[in-house]
């Protein structure tokens, strides 16, 4: 490996490079900077520049994107070297509409929205494909209804708010309610898919976050073996607003690469509220008229065109290859059956989901997962309010076994919530109500889950089944978690075959159901004995 390169090898390579080099007149178009400041440059000239095109400033090495085409000037947002551009500088057209070079070597890396690696581990390897940041979403004909489940590993979600591959599901809540934790756990849970023939590749887009938080996320993913199939696109709070506003689009480009080559990908946007704020900053500096809450008039379009690109593609290769607006780099490589699932995050202020940006994104996505601070503080983590969370894809994205056991779960929890207010009366209630309360408490307890502990679907099915069958009712609430842990351990040790059967076939036969009940009863007798009444 470490053989020295001989001098004549160097010379011959250099000669080959120089020999193939053709001298010729370079023709390019230029403009002059009239005004520069706050990350925006106004240029005079560049009469033929296109909207969204990249321009370069040779003297300072800065790059910018053209966003405003006006009668006399061109408005350019600068991506880097913002302070170095001066009035009077020359700007050259690159004749390239803003795009990112995607390659499979990006998996395991942290990159910026322009595709440059920022984790200090050298250049990104592998064949690159140029994907435009702005691209039309696939048309209706090239899509397919969402049918395959995307298992998050979080019991509350997989049972009652199931997500399918190709769906857009919003994660919404106040600050510090566990939104990022839901995303990270979902990414970690995709590890097992890489042993099947339909692996899910993950993209984590960090917009406007603290770099320390992103480093933490990366560490968590690494520790759980998830970094190998994940790309992190980072636009930290210190980066210029234009970088923050294009970051989700850059991530989507990477996702589209997998989607259009017949594979599955998951993209999480953490978070879109910050992207909207960055876009507002850029728009106001470009003197575009402000609308509600000072957001520009097209802030809805900002999110809708982003999220429409997450889709489930038709399984038929022939149909998929005819997809609209396939970039040149992917011509001939398009396969059907792929999907891009999106989990955007919106942060609300004081639980106000009727604010401008939250209502916009809620109307775009196929459902939402509400995380509430009250639940979080009461110890219910993940703090999902199941009553108002919804998945518009629903049961179509669940395995049969889960659909069966989760059917009564929602109902039981709903009834429990109605009666919760009365639980303070304790023993003054009639037996039926007390039973309902007992059941509900234990269901809530079962749905609590630790961070970085996604549960495989067969375990979820087992524990939810016995909970809804009432086999936990006799166990004290504070011991339910311990029971669950031991129960799952037992199943893993003694009934590995049956568990893997549930996972493989997606169904739970009556025999297996009986088996689960028997194990639960055996174990619960131990728990009952230990409680001194």
């Amino acid at each position: 490996m470490a053989t020295a390169i001989r001098p004549d090898e160097v010379t011959s390579v250099l000669r080959r490079e120089l020999g193939g080099f053709e001298a010729g007149t370079d023709i390019y178009e230029v403009g002059t900077v009239l005004q520069v400041g706050d990350g925006i440059a106004r240029l005079y000239g560049l009469a033929n520049v296109q909207a969204g095109e990249l321009v370069r400033f040779p003297r300072s090495g800065a790059t910018g994107m053209v966003l405003n085409l006006e009668e006399d000037s061109v408005g350019v947002v600068l991506f880097d070297n913002v302070d170095k551009v001066k009035e009077g500088d020359e700007a050259k057209r690159t004749e390239r509409i803003a795009s990112i070079e995607v390659s499979e070597g990006m998996l395991g890396r942290v990159i910026d929205p322009l595709g440059n690696p920022v984790d200090g581990a050298g250049a990104v390897s592998g064949e690159t494909f140029e994907m435009p940041l702005e691209r039309k979403a696939p048309g209706v004909i090239y899509r397919e209804p969402v049918k395959e489940p995307l298992q998050t590993g979080i019991k509350a979600i997989d049972s009652m708010i199931p997500i399918g591959r190709g769906q857009r599901e919003l994660v919404i809540g106040d600050r510090q309610t566990g939104k990022t934790a839901v995303l990270v756990d979902t990414i970690i849970n995709q590890k097992s898919t890489h042993e099947t023939d339909k692996p899910v590749f993950c993209i984590y887009v960090a917009v406007g976050q603290k770099s320390s938080t992103v480093a933490q996320v990366k560490r968590s993913l690494e520790e759980n073996g998830a970094m190998d199939y994940t790309v992190i696109v980072n636009a930290p709070a210190s980066s210029p607003a234009p970088m923050q506003f294009i970051a989700p689009y850059a991530g989507t480009c990477i996702g589209e690469y997998f989607r259009d080559t017949g594979r599955h990908a998951l993209i999480v946007f953490d978070d879109l509220s910050k992207q909207a704020v960055a876009y507002r900053e850029v728009s106001l500096l470009l003197r575009r008229p402000p609308g509600r809450e000072a957001y520009p008039g097209d802030v809805f379009y900002l999110h809708s065109r982003l999220l429409e690109r997450s889709a489930k593609i038709n399984t038929n290769d022939g149909v998929a290859s005819l997809m609209n607006d396939v970039p040149n780099s992917l011509q001939g490589l398009v396969k059907g059956g792929g999907s891009l699932t999106a989990l955007p995050v919106i942060e609300t202020q004081a639980g106000d989901v009727s604010a401008y940006i939250p209502t916009n994104v809620i109307s775009i996505t196929d459902g939402q997962i509400y995380l509430e601070a009250d639940l979080f503080n009461a110890g219910v983590r993940p703090a999902i309010n199941v009553g108002i969370s919804v998945s518009r894809v629903g049961g179509n994205a669940q395995i049969k076994a889960m659909k069966k056991v989760a059917g009564t779960l929602r109902l039981d929890l709903a009834q429990f919530r109605e009666l919760e207010a009365f639980s303070k009366f304790g023993s003054d209630l009639d037996p039926a109500t007390q039973r309902q309360l007992r059941r509900g408490e234990r269901l809530v307890e079962v749905l609590k889950q630790g961070q970085y502990q996604p549960a495989p679907v067969e375990e979820q099915v087992a524990i939810i089944y016995i909970a809804t069958q009432g086999l936990l009712d006799a166990i004290p609430v504070e011991r339910v978690k311990e029971f669950e842990r031991q129960y799952v351990e037992r199943l893993q040790m003694k009934h590995e075959d049956e568990m893997s059967q549930i996972r493989r076939t997606g169904t739970m036969s009556d025999e297996i159901a009986e088996l689960l009940k028997k194990e639960a009863n055996d174990l619960s007798s131990l728990f009952k004995e230990e409680v001194a009444v």
Binding site: I5, V10, V13, E17, L18, F21, A23, T25, D26, I27, Y28, E29, V30, G31, G45, L46, A47, N48, E71, D72
Partner: protein
């Protein structure tokens, strides 16, 4: 900028209407040279402190006998409308507009070596053939180019300098990275 263009257009159209275009062209050139020669005059026009009356007096005294009545009236109009500070912009907009109408383009060439007159003529002729319009050529020297010339016409740059070739070679070698992988 837009305002300057509007005033320039107005001046042209009035000159055209009175069939005095040539005279107005000459006047614009005269005023331009005068302003370029005297910074004081330019500052005077651009100063917001000097009252309009004084400005009108200066205009009439300086230009009254040298320019056509159309141009004089135009300058007085500018002062009356409080637009005299964009006079330089108006004059260059007028020149640009007239150049466009006459089919003349300005070309700025930067050459690494001094360019003899013979070559300048050849270059101007070549550019005229290229653009199909008459070319007003300005040549400056810039040794940073190492060799060759860079010609800019409007927004378009024809870069035939050695410096650019070296840059392209460097870009190509950086992208190739044969020796690194």
């Amino acid at each position: 900028m837009i305002v300057a263009r509007r005033y320039a257009r107005a001046l042209y159209e009035e000159g055209e209407r009175q069939s005095k275009t040539a005279a107005v062209d000459e006047d614009v050139a005269v005023i331009r040279t005068t302003l370029e020669a005297s910074r004081d005059l330019l500052s005077f026009f651009q100063s917001p402190i000097v009252p309009a009356g004084k400005k009108l007096n200066v205009v009439r005294e300086l230009f009254g006998k040298r320019v056509d009545i159309v141009t004089l009236r135009f300058l007085e109009l500018l002062v009356e409308n409080d637009r005299e500070e964009i006079l330089p912009d108006i004059l260059s907009a007028y020149s640009r507009m007239r150049d466009e109408q006459k089919g003349i383009v300005e070309a700025h060439a930067r050459s690494a070596m001094p360019m003899p007159e013979k070559d300048r003529e050849k270059l101007a002729q070549a550019l005229e053939d290229l653009t199909g319009q008459k070319v007003r050529l300005h040549v400056t020297e810039e040794s940073d180019l190492v060799g060759g010339i860079v010609i800019r016409i409007g927004d378009l740059v024809y870069d035939a300098s050695v410096r650019r070739q070296l840059e392209r070679l460097r870009e190509r070698m950086e992208a190739g990275s044969y020796l690194l992988n």
